[in-house]
């Protein structure tokens, strides 16, 4: 709205033409529910009536604040993995009593064997990795944007970014200076290719850009990224030093992944 609003204190009920803004019709209009033939009437009325403008601006602010206070939530990959495990276990159903006894015995033997092997430092016992279900990276992107596109860790120090990639992917990476209009928001661990996939969240010209990094051996063929909120998404891929980089964004060319590069500089091995 281009017109200035009346002084902030209270609604100007004494202004000529001011009408009570409350009413189901006005809220239906704000909610986008009035028929087309009435929309133009309401728009004209809104342009003429400062008290309606006040209410509309206030409602907009209420909606924005609610969305900020209650951002859309997405389940963490760890939680989904746990649900999947419980679901698989539940889908097995209760076994007949004689099989249940045998299964308990076998489980007990396994627990004892694993325990003894661990105590003996025997590394030949197969490691039972937790269940992980890969997620298309475009879906990781959509979930991140729907959740407010906030990183788990803001990572302001370059040394810490290097240390995190070293710990998670055994490779030191550092972020080159990004051009004007681009900035790194931080890091997240959203899953995707594997449990170790590390995502760098950026804003480029105001748009969310996600760079996902993982070991090359964890790479999986990605489906077409599709669209998000009417805009086509683009998926860019590169390989460097045993790592695979994916950038997902609305941009037809990579705008961030090229600034995340391996480094040979000494960096702290822990943080």
């Amino acid at each position: 709205m281009s017109k200035s609003l009346p002084p902030n204190d209270r609604r100007p009920d004494d202004l000529p033409g001011a009408a009570p803004a409350e009413g189901a019709d006005f809220d239906a209009y704000l909610d986008g529910l009035v028929p087309e033939d009435q929309q133009a009437d309401w728009t004209r009325r809104l342009e003429r009536d400062p008290s309606l403008q006040c209410d509309a601006a206030l409602q907009r602010r209420v909606d924005e604040t609610l969305r900020a206070k209650f951002p859309a939530a997405a389940p963490s990959p760890e939680h989904l993995a746990q649900v999947a495990r419980l679901q698989h276990a539940a889908a097995g159903g209760p076994a007949p009593r004689r099989y249940r006894r045998g299964a308990l015995l076998a489980a007990a033997v396994l627990v004892v064997a694993v325990g003894m092997a661990l105590l003996a430092g025997d590394r030949t016992v197969p490691h039972q990795t937790p269940f992980f279900e890969p997620t298309p990276l475009a879906e990781v992107y959509r979930t991140a944007v729907a959740s407010g596109f906030q990183p788990y860790y803001e990572c302001r120090e370059p040394e810490r970014l290097t240390a995190i990639f070293l710990q998670r992917l055994a490779t030191r990476l550092h972020l080159l200076p990004m051009p004007p209009g681009s900035r790194m928001l931080g890091l997240s661990y959203p899953g995707g290719l594997s449990r170790d996939t590390t995502a760098m969240l950026c804003r480029v010209d105001g748009a969310p850009v996600l760079v996902a990094v993982d070991r090359r051996q964890a790479d999986r063929k990605q489906p077409a990224p599709g669209v998000y909120e009417g805009q086509p998404l683009h998926l860019h891929r590169a390989e460097r030093d045993g790592l695979v980089f994916y950038e997902i964004s609305p941009f037809a060319q990579p705008r961030a992944m090229q600034y995340l590069v391996p480094t040979t500089d000494d960096a702290p091995d822990n943080f």
């Binding site: 609003l5 006040c54 602010r61 924005e64 604040t65 209650f70 539940a90 889908a91 159903g93």
Partner: protein, 206 residues
């Protein structure tokens, strides 16, 4: 809110029509945002909403429930989420203690908004007045009836249609719409009357 749907089967023989294991997680993931908004609506706050949803799905899994369709799954989950959230709210009310709410640094979600972001991009901090506005809004939200608050959050935050809200809460669409519109009017009236709230919109930033 009472469920009109048939209850799911418990611990039965596997049914050819029940949700496959691989789909269960996908439907849960898809339903998660609206279930969390529902939990937040019952609780009156965001803190603890995800815990409630996770508690509800663990109950479903522990019972070994089978759902014949995604809509039945969501309907059952909505009921379970509401019960878990009500229990949590009663505990909080009895104890008269509240978890300290961390400073909310969430950026405004909609980039197309014509009002300036309440977040200072240099510091990431909320402008002070916006903090008061937010606090006043949360206090006013808590005074709404639970069902009205749920409808408002499902519409505003989870962006559900009134048909979807109606199905989730098992109430008529018209009732859901009335709840949302009346709640909005009440909140505007409360905030307009609040002396701590500056209704002048912040200046537009280039």
């Amino acid at each position: 809110m009472t469920s009109r749907q048939e209850p799911p089967r418990e611990n039965s023989e596997s049914s050819a029509e029940s949700l496959p294991a691989s789909d269960f997680v996908a439907y849960y993931q898809q339903a998660y945002p609206k279930l969390t908004a529902l939990a937040a609506g019952v609780l009156g706050r965001r803190d603890g909403a995800e815990d409630v949803v996770q508690q509800a799905v663990e109950i479903a899994l522990a019972k070994g429930l089978e759902f014949e369709s995604p809509s039945r799954f969501v309907a059952w989950m909505a009921g379970a989420v509401r019960r878990c959230a009500l229990n949590q709210r009663r505990k909080t009310t009895r104890r008269r203690t509240y978890a300290a709410s961390p400073t909310d640094l969430a950026a405004v979600a909609h980039a197309a908004s014509t009002t300036a972001s309440p977040i200072d991009p240099a510091t990431g901090q909320l402008e002070r007045e916006q903090q008061w506005f937010g606090d006043a809004l949360i206090a006013a939200l808590d005074d709404l009836a639970e069902e009205a608050r749920c409808c408002l959050l499902l519409r505003t935050v989870a962006d559900l249609s009134y048909a979807e809200i109606s199905e989730l809460l098992d109430i008529p669409q018209g009732t859901a719409m009335s709840h949302v519109h009346r709640s909005r009017q009440l909140l505007r009236r409360r905030l307009a009357d609040s002396p701590d709230v500056d209704l002048t919109p912040p200046p537009q930033k280039s």
